[in-house]
């Protein structure tokens, strides 16, 4: 009985986690669709986390998904084959050294990439050259400065600030979400339209509490502990207190908020 209950519970729990994943996919990708025959460059596909969603949602579009890491590309290709998607071509390639012809794609899609790059406007400018006139770019990024919660905690904000600082020292920007509008305008895109995609989590959504507050956001901050301490950004006590306070927001009276930003823009000429 105990065992059955556990299985039953796990089954329900898995369903909830899968609901949570669905919720985020819906939030970020529900309005991305490419018509039959259109060619789309996914720049920075990683291990294909977004690629499978793109391929599934636009089954008649033709995707070229690139990443600088051969290992990631291999993993993405393997996952894609396993799921049976036939409309994606994978290539190892460096965004700053691409061999595609100018204007050779109808659209470009970039998700969770700019946050890691020191020169996001240059990147957008390079990608813009690859888009045919009248084509579009879609960019999705998070923003760690958009995280706030109840109960509020100075320590939690300090722990998050460590992640932001480390990403900055690595040449990236963990708060790039809010900047998408000026970035795309500076790169010369037209009709730039940014929409925030806010994730609001309270205990009425246990799947999001588990899957987003705990296992996505807090786990990610927790993951920089060693580096934050070795770079002397914070004391161990303060960092651990911050992580405890982030987990505290996942209790029944806690609330957690985070916002992703999605930009859509036109290459006019």
């Amino acid at each position: 009985m105990g065992n059955e209950y556990v299985h039953g519970y796990n089954g329900k729990e898995n369903e909830r986690l899968s609901d949570q994943a669905d919720t985020l996919v819906e939030l970020l990708h529900s309005d991305t669709f490419y018509p039959a025959g259109s060619t789309v460059l996914e720049a920075g596909c990683g291990i294909g986390a977004q690629t499978m969603t793109l391929a599934a949602k636009s089954p008649e579009a033709l995707f070229t998904s690139i990443d600088i890491s051969q290992a990631s590309v291999d993993e993405a290709e393997k996952r894609c084959d396993e799921l049976g998607y036939k409309n994606v071509k994978f290539e190892q390639a460096d965004i700053f050294n691409l061999e595609f012809k100018p204007e050779s794609f109808d659209h470009v899609f970039v998700c969770f990439v700019l946050e890691h790059l020191a020169n996001p406007v240059d990147t957008m400018t390079i990608l813009k050259k690859l888009i045919r006139p009248g084509g579009t770019i879609t960019v999705i990024e998070g923003d760690h400065g958009s995280a706030y919660f109840y109960p509020d905690s100075v320590y939690a904000h300090k722990a998050i600030a460590c992640q932001v600082e480390l990403q900055k020292r690595a040449g990236g920007n963990a708060m790039i979400g809010r900047e998408l509008y000026p970035l795309l305008v500076k790169a010369g895109f037209n009709e730039v339209c940014v929409s925030p995609r806010m994730v609001y989590v309270d205990s009425s959504s246990p799947g999001l509490v588990e899957g987003f507050t705990k296992k996505t956001f807090t786990a990610m901050i927790e993951g920089v502990r060693e580096k934050a301490l070795s770079e002397k950004l914070i004391s161990a006590a303060d960092f651990d207190c911050g992580i405890a306070d982030l987990y505290r927001t996942s209790e029944s009276d806690g609330v957690f908020c985070y916002t992703f930003f999605k930009a859509f823009a036109l290459k006019q000429d």
Copy 2:
């Protein structure tokens, strides 16, 4: 010609500002509707800023709008008469000393009130007694800790923190928006559902830049300058730098984000 252009521009500008006001009304109130004959208590109506929207959107519901300030109630009543709404009764009354019979309203509506009160759970508990079983409460609050922007600025956050601290010293809570879920659960409401209503402003929405970033949020923070300085919360130079940085976010490459929270809950018994 010059003159005509100016008029044309002002006309367009007024339209944009009015669009902005409409955008916020839509964002906060579009999903609030009370059926014909239902009785609704608006607790803390002030000068009727939300009352007119309620009356217009639910023309056959019967509103009782109260405020602790007789002057505010008089002003609200005058505005309501001028606009010709017949479905609102105004009364001066103190939420903590009400003479309404228990369960005498179908619904309660509270907007931008809890932020000023030292005991929001008690307030919710008192209001809950006035709702019939099966009736609902709707609560809308802002959250000044939800403000973030590009370019980011330590000084701007310090200036905002002054407003938050002053509201705290006055017994209120300027960051109450994120707390609505636990507050309503603690007060014994059922099926509590909170939805964030995020205002995202970039220069593609000049009406929001002018009407929200500058004239609503930044002007409000600017308004606490004297008190923040006299209570020695900040130096004049830092405060002024923070305000300048908030205005900076309204320039063509700036971005401003703020989130309101709307809660809807059931009184089951």
